[in-house]
Symmetry: C2
Subunit: 135 residues, 2 copies
């Protein structure tokens, strides 16, 4: 299936791309930085450069396989696109990420945009807080 995804996106099936996709698919943490992925590749003994990780993630994003988020704190985080739109709750102490989706909020955003004369292309709602475990 991976192979199909890559071919559909017009990308050649290469070892770096398959390994990166595999990490995104099998990781129990769904939100990973490029460095996270790079480190996992090193640990697995793969000799894949950090530049390749960034390059591939950017291609995956363009192909719609992956979404890039800009949470506070510098590094972008990437997550495999699993179909369902959602927004994020991020713990500022431990970094835990909880996903949620609220149709009321989504609808209100559409209404606000249309009233302002904007054609929505995207949106990012991130709530920062302290999770139960960190309190």
């Amino acid at each position: 299936m991976e192979t199909q995804d890559l071919k559909k996106a017009g990308l050649k099936v290469t070892l770096p791309r398959m390994k990166i996709l595999e990490i995104l698919e099998t990781s129990n943490v769904h939100h990973l930085t490029a460095e996270d992925i790079y480190r996992q590749l090193l640990e697995a003994g793969e000799e894949i450069g950090l530049a390749t990780v960034y390059r591939v993630l950017t291609q995956f994003e363009a192909a719609g396989l992956v979404t890039r988020h800009h949470f506070e704190g510098g590094q972008a985080v990437f997550e495999l696109e699993r179909g369902a739109h959602h927004d994020h709750l991020v713990c500022v102490k431990c970094g835990k990420v909880v996903e949620f989706m609220d149709e009321t909020i989504e609808a209100k955003q559409r209404q606000i945009s249309s009233e302002a004369g904007f054609e929505i292309t995207d949106h990012a709602l991130t709530i920062y807080g302290i999770c139960r475990d960190c309190r």
Copy 2:
């Protein structure tokens, strides 16, 4: 009044701080990057370094005088804290920023956080789109 704000924040009243505060107060565009401010200072003939601009903005942020936003596109933008919380609609073509606040959305966020066991510290909702003029 500016002078008071600075003193209250425990900051000495210096020329760079007053000039930067003045730019934030008088600019008709409310969302400025550090470079925007630096450029305006240069144009006004002030010899203030970019490092000072960043330093002062960070201090203003800590003092609650200014809010820092991380819209897409790398550079942070700063805006004078005028008391009323609001979220943002950003045009991806021209960069125009429209502010809005919706109590339904705010309330939903509080509910979602509390249900997830998070104590909210902050949130950022940014809708990206194409404004009327850019269509």
